[in-house]
Structures are given as structure tokens and as C-alpha cells.
Symmetry: C2
Subunit: 451 residues, 2 copies
């Protein structure tokens, strides 16, 4: 049995390790154009900040360990094509520039995602313009950041909020440009506003947010020296990071005739099988199902990649395993403010046709007399018809992530509002409030559902 895996950051690395454990006699080969496999891209902003000095800390499992367990890792070997008829892949060795073919019995595509840089093609090769995907990107951004004082971030999503924290902590001045009316457009606007306000009030005047704006003109030759926005704001800059979303890497899959989903990512079933026999896809290149709406979505996250890689491996090794889907659970922080969500936002839910009911509650996360007490603001969204909880967003210096994880487990178990009203959560003064914010929010929603 020949198992071949394309790409090895999260899903691919997990699939390889799991497959080799399940079928020790099988050959398992990872092909990647990257210089590393099995690393935490989510940790790059903290490496850039300087939380730790050596980027190798981000490597989950070194190549030597893969090799020791009998998995062959082919770094700097780019897969250029898949032939499902002959069950072969074409590979270009980037070191020797040689092309060759490799046979497979089972193929796993885990090619991941890349920054979506449409509209920025002309400046991507400038010396001081960056995107963040690989370890090398992280090293380059960290090194450049240390040389400069004035940085421009384009895009106001997760990655740039984390980079903003890293840069502000390093004393830099940052201008962030976001085309939506508020940063973090993944959240509902009433919550995004709170995040944006917090950032403006807690960044020691180092941050300027240009919302509902975009770049009209980049100034500079080898390097970008200045920017003029669509609203006519002009400023100098020494460094630019573009994080305006990501797109799944699907080219070779598409060329091989593998079906893509409506989201543009590779369509898979719950066993991570693509439309072509013996070819699996998992991780950021694969489409997912949203558990709440039961609709296809593309939410690329490291935590999901891990589960999908494991699922692909189990199925290709002959064990039946379903991956039910995702909830879009995610979390980040900005200088003490925790920002977390799960399920559908209210705007997503309405777009899908749900008749939503929601509430926004602010409460202390622990007993008010404890020194560690902080606030959380929670938005809870439910479906007027089924009374099912659809999603939640929580921000605050308090344990927002704890609340969202609790709701995530509820969402995965079809929790209705009534199931949250009296749920027995742990209570002690240093940990929580005797009437939890989840109870308070559920009670308000419940009374709205009655009317």
C-alpha cells in the first residue's frame, strides 16, 4: 500500500502520522514545496512579537521524527499534477529542477491555503511588502519589523489583529486599513465596534484604524514609501503587511478533474473523500459543512485541519470515520481583550433565512469581590422558530473563550435556549459568577421567544 500526501503543515502531517500508525507496513510519503512540515502557523504572530526567540519552537514534529517512524518527507518537492487514471502524481524537485512521477494507492491532498492578494499583484515583490503564511514569512516579518517604526497593515481580520498586537507591543506605530465599516468583519457589527473601540483606547496612541477605506495608490519603487487611500488619506510607511483573506490551493486538484464545491474549495464527503476514488482532501484546501446551517462553508482553521487529517487517514486505512463538520469556533486576543465566536453570526444567520433573536449582555466573569474579576460582553443568537441556539460571540478581558467553548459543545449537540437556562456550570468566586452570563443571556432570549 502506497500512501502519498501532498502538503504537510497541519492536515497532511496529521494524516501521515495517523496512517503510518494504523498501517505500519504501508509506505507513507509527504511531498511539499515548503521547507518544513508540521508547524503551527497560528503561532507565527507570537514568534514575530518575540514571545520566544527560536521559530523552531513552532515545529510540532521535526522531519527527523517523521523519518524515524518510517514516513518519507520530500521537502522542496512541488507536486505539479495528479493523474487519477494512472494513479500517479508529477513532482518537480525544486532543488535539482528535475521532474518525476510517483505512484499512489491512496492520495491525500492537503495543499492548504494562501493569502488572497488580488489587486496587490504589482507590489507583492517589493522588498518591504509581506504576507504571512510560512515560517519564512514569519522570520522575514519579524526581522523587518525590528528595523522600522511605521507599519501599515492591510486587512482587519484575525491575522492582522494578532500582528497589530505584536507590533504595538514592540513599540511600533501602525496604520490599519480595513474596507468594512469596522475591523473584525467576521463578527457582527455591534461586537466589532466594541473591539475597535478597545483597540483605539488601549494602544497608547500607536494605532490608527482607517475603516471603510482601501489603498488607492502605493508610492515607491523598490520599496513602498507611502500610501494614499481611496478617501484621500496619505501617509508614509516603512513596511506593509497584506492580510486580506486567504484562498484554498486547489489548482492541481481542479486540473485533475476533482470537483470543487460552491465555496471554491475541494468538495469532500464526511469521510474526506473527493469526487475521485482513492483521493482524499483535508485541511485548508477542503470545503467543510457548517453544523448549524448544514450548508457548505470554507472556514480554514488549524484545529479543523488536524481533525480532518486524522479522519482522512482513518478512512483510507479502512476504518469508517465521519467528520461531522465545523462551527466556526475561533478565538484571538488583542492586548488583554479576548475575542471569541462560535456558530453563525446574526448577519450570517439572517442571510441564510433564519428568523433570529439575539441579545448582548455585559457581565462580570467572576464574583465581583475577587481581584481577578473582569467583564465579558456576550452576544447570543437563537432561531425564533426552532428555539435552537445558532451562535455566540464573546469579547472582554474576562474568560470569553471559556464561554464560547461551552456554547460550542452545546451547538454540536443541538442545544435549544431552554437547555442553557439552568445548565449546571461550575461556580466558585475565583472562577465564575453564581449567575453565569450564559444563564443571563439565555433568560433574556427565552423571554423574547415568549413574546
Amino acid at each position: 500500500m502506497k500512501i502519498v500526501i501532498i502538503g504537510g503543515v497541519a492536515a497532511g502531517a496529521k494524516a501521515a502520522a495517523k496512517a503510518k500508525r494504523m498501517l505500519p507496513e504501508a509506505s507513507v510519503d509527504i511531498y511539499t514545496q515548503d521547507t518544513h512540515v508540521s508547524y503551527s502557523t497560528c503561532g507565527l504572530p507570537y514568534y514575530i512579537e518575540g514571545v520566544f526567540e527560536n521559530y523552531e519552537k513552532l515545529i510540532v514534529r521535526p522531519v527527523s521524527e517523521f523519518e524515524k517512524s518510517g514516513i518519507n518527507v520530500h521537502l522542496l518537492n512541488r507536486v505539479t499534477g495528479i493523474n487519477p487514471d494512472t494513479k500517479k502524481i508529477s513532482v518537480l524537485n525544486l532543488k535539482t529542477n528535475e521532474n518525476y512521477e510517483v505512484e499512489y494507492d491512496k492520495l491525500v491532498i492537503s495543499t492548504g491555503a494562501v493569502p488572497a492578494t488580488k489587486g496587490f499583484e504589482k507590489i507583492l515583490n517589493k522588498k518591504n511588502v509581506f504576507t504571512l503564511r510560512t515560517l519564512e514569512d514569519g522570520v522575514a516579518i519579524r526581522n523587518k519589523m525590528r528595523e522600522v517604526q511605521n507599519i501599515t497593515l492591510i486587512g482587519g481580520g484575525y491575522i492582522n489583529i494578532e500582528l497589530l498586537e505584536a507590533f504595538v507591543k514592540n513599540g511600533k506605530n501602525v496604520i490599519l486599513i480595513e474596507k468594512s465599516p469596522f475591523i473584525m468583519p467576521i463578527l457582527d457589527e455591534d461586537i466589532s465596534i466594541l473591539v475597535q473601540t478597545y483597540i483605539m483606547e488601549n494602544s497608547n496612541n500607536q494605532v490608527k484604524i482607517l475603516a471603510e477605506d482601501s489603498v488607492n495608490e502605493f508610492i515607491g519603487e523598490d520599496e513602498i514609501r507611502g500610501i494614499i487611500t481611496s478617501k484621500g488619506v496619505g501617509f508614509d510607511t516603512e513596511m506593509v503587511v497584506i492580510s486580506t483573506g486567504v484562498r484554498p490551493v486547489v489548482d492541481i486538484a481542479k486540473e485533475a478533474g476533482i470537483e470543487l464545491g460552491v465555496t471554491g474549495a475541494i468538495k469532500v464527503n464526511s469521510r474526506m473523500e473527493t469526487s475521485i476514488k482513492d483521493i482524499y482532501a483535508c485541511g485548508d484546501c477542503a470545503e467543510k459543512v457548517h453544523i448549524i446551517s448544514n450548508t457548505p462553508v470554507w472556514i480554514p482553521l488549524g484545529s479543523t485541519a488536524n481533525k480532518e487529517g486524522r479522519t482522512a487517514a482513518m478512512n483510507l486505512c479502512g476504518e469508517h470515520k465521519d467528520f461531522e463538520g465545523v462551527l466556526g469556533s475561533s478565538v484571538t486576543r488583542y492586548l488583554g481583550l479576548n475575542i471569541s465566536k462560535c456558530g453563525l453570526t446574526e448577519k450570517e444567520a439572517r442571510k441564510l433565512g433564519y428568523d433570529t433573536v439575539s441579545t448582548v449582555v455585559t457581565k462580570k466573569d467572576k464574583a465581583g469581590y475577587m481581584p481577578e474579576v473582569e467583564n465579558i460582553t456576550l452576544k447570543l443568537i437563537a432561531d425564533m422558530r426552532s428555539h435552537r441556539i445558532l451562535g455566540a460571540q464573546a469579547i472582554g478581558c474576562g474568560d470569553a473563550d471559556k464561554k464560547i467553548d461551552s456554547i460550542s459543545v452545546g451547538l454540536a449537540n443541538n442545544m435549544e435556549v431552554k437547555d442553557l437556562l439552568d445548565v449546571d456550570l461550575t461556580y466558585a468566586p475565583p472562577f465564575s459568577a453564581s449567575v453565569d452570563i450564559l444563564h443571563s443571556a439565555a433568560r433574556i432570549i427565552q423571554s423574547k421567544l415568549r413574546n
Copy 2:
């Protein structure tokens, strides 16, 4: 409509406030032998420690606020009897020593619990012997603690673990006597051992635990000066706190002919109705249903009292509201070690006849390269037949409470092991691990269920 409430710490105070909000025209009267209503007994150990100076911080809602909203609070007025036929209660005014009667249309019994001090009757009136229930108890323990150096704690449950932390932080030497083989016998022994080991290793030699032992002899007249244990250990002591469990206060309910449950607490249905019409019971004096086993239990907790008080108020005001039951979710800490549980322990489950399968996993709670990373040890217990998750215990310097709250929500929604395998939890390096300890534990249990 005359609503009368007996006792007003948590359940009673909540019931009064909720009833008055729902029926502003009704008269609402709280009768209590206590000097205060509506306070957080759970916060007393932190007041004793000195986390804050004024015990009034523990008062959730001062009497003046109750009075302002039209609720009459009768402090130091002990209810001595209930006559369900005439719908009257007998009251003794402890200030004037006068007896009088009060009519009710709806009666709420929320008399709470008191320390179970059986076997210690002879020493309870000694000047340096304490139990912890009321604000006055807290003040007395705090004052005495400051005068002494050597303290004896009898009992190794939640209250004494919290007092142990308070005393150790204040530089005291403490001997703790526990009759079980390990402290925290509410946990399974494999987890209790870890707690006990942590305490012994992290208390600066200030703590001695005498497990599987008990007091054989107290020495001293006005004050206890020394103790000799059943195993023959003798030592001097300057102060003794007895926390060997609690019992529900049910005397007047029992005398009135109200049915008690098998646990000895007042039997109630899901609407908090007792066996006698128009009489409700809630909080620590009332029996509860365990959601997992569907059996009657008596787990007195402040968080439950709040919900039951609210439920009683809603029902007596004419709105149908069920309280489904409890999971025994609880949490405490000892000098950085968080200790949390929900659902059934393995020993409880086995006693009830479940064919249990369990695992104990230790893992980092965040990405390994983040400075805030800590360990958690999680025990997960499932039912071999139904595959349902029965309970969990988590301890560690990491976010143990977060994990237990997630499982609590799952337990309330009949979560099976397979539902936990891939649940979409929030992931980012400062908050969690990409493969969460919940996933790891569920996977191990799943593989055990397969065999």
C-alpha cells in the same frame, strides 16, 4: 397574594426578588433567624484570607434594596413552625423573644444547610472551635486566625481546602485530618491523590495531612489545646475548624408533614413544589435530581440555589417553569491548582451500576511555546453500554474549569463519546491546544469502547 419566604441567603433572596418583579402587587416577606440576607457564603474563605477587607462586599443585595423594591425582610425572626391547614407560620422574634403568626398564600422554604457536626457536640462551644456557615462565622474565623499560628482543620472537602489556602497564604501551619484515604473524597481516588500530592509539594512545609485518621481526643477546657488522633498522633493546636460535611435544615418542614426524600432533604418536583400544596422548597434544604443518573441527590451549591429560587418564584407566580436537575458541577482551587468536576465520578457511577470506561490524560492547556502554558489532568468517564459521557474531573494549574464547563454543557445535552471526538472548540496559541485534551480523552475512550 401573600408570599412568605423562610430563609434568605441565596435561594430565598432570589425567589423573593423574582416573585416581586413578577407580581408587584403581591406582598413578599422574608423571615430569617440570620442577621443578613442575600450574601455569598462561597466567598467567605476569600474574605478570611484577606483578599478584601470588608465582609459587606459579600452581600449581593443589601436589605435596603429589598425594602426599596417592596420586599419586607424580617432579620432575626426565626420561623418555628408551619401550619399547612391554616396556612400560617409561627415566628419567634429573637430580639424581643415574642412569638407571632403570619398568614401565607404561597410559602417558600429556603432554610439552607448547616454544618454536620455529629460527634463534635461537646467541643462546639469551645472558644477556639469554629464551623463556617454565616458571615459571623467568617468574621470570627478571620479574627482568630490572625491571632494564632497553629490551626487544625477537620475534614478535607471543598470548604477546608479553601480555608487551607487562606491559612497557608497567611503563613499559618495547618494540620488537616481527613477520615478518607485521601482529601477531596468527592473526587475519584486517582485524582484525589494528585490533589493531595500537589498540596504537600507546594505548601512551603506549612501543611500536614493526616489521612485515614480522625480525632480520638480533644485536650483542653475553655479552649482546645491539643488533639490525639485515632492513629495515636498527638499535637498542640490553637484553633480548630470543623468542616465534615453539611446537612439540610428540614426540621420545621418535617414537623409540618412535608415529605422528605431519600437523601433527607425536602422532596420537590421539577417546579420546586413540596408534597403540600402552595409550599415550595428550594436551595440547600431541597433534594435535587441528578441529570445523568436521574436519581435523587443532595448536592447543595450556591449556583443551584439561585436557579431553584428563580424556578420556585416563577411557578408560584403562575408561570410554568421546570428545573431539570443538577450535574454536580463544581470547582475550587488551591494555590494555583484548579480542581473541577461535573457529572458522576467513576466510583459513583459504578455504585449506581454503570459499566464504566474511563481514562486519565495529562496535556498542556495551550500551545507549548506560549509562556502562559500549564498542564491539565483530565479524567473522563463514559458508559460502556450507551456510550454516553457520565462525568469528568479536571485538575491542574491550567484552565481545568474551562474544560469542565464545556463537558457540563455536553452532559446536559446527553453527549455521547463520539460527539466529543471532533467538537469544534476555539483554538489559538494563547488559549488552547490545537488538539484539545477533550479530543484526546474522547479518542482514548472511543478506542476502549471499540475493543
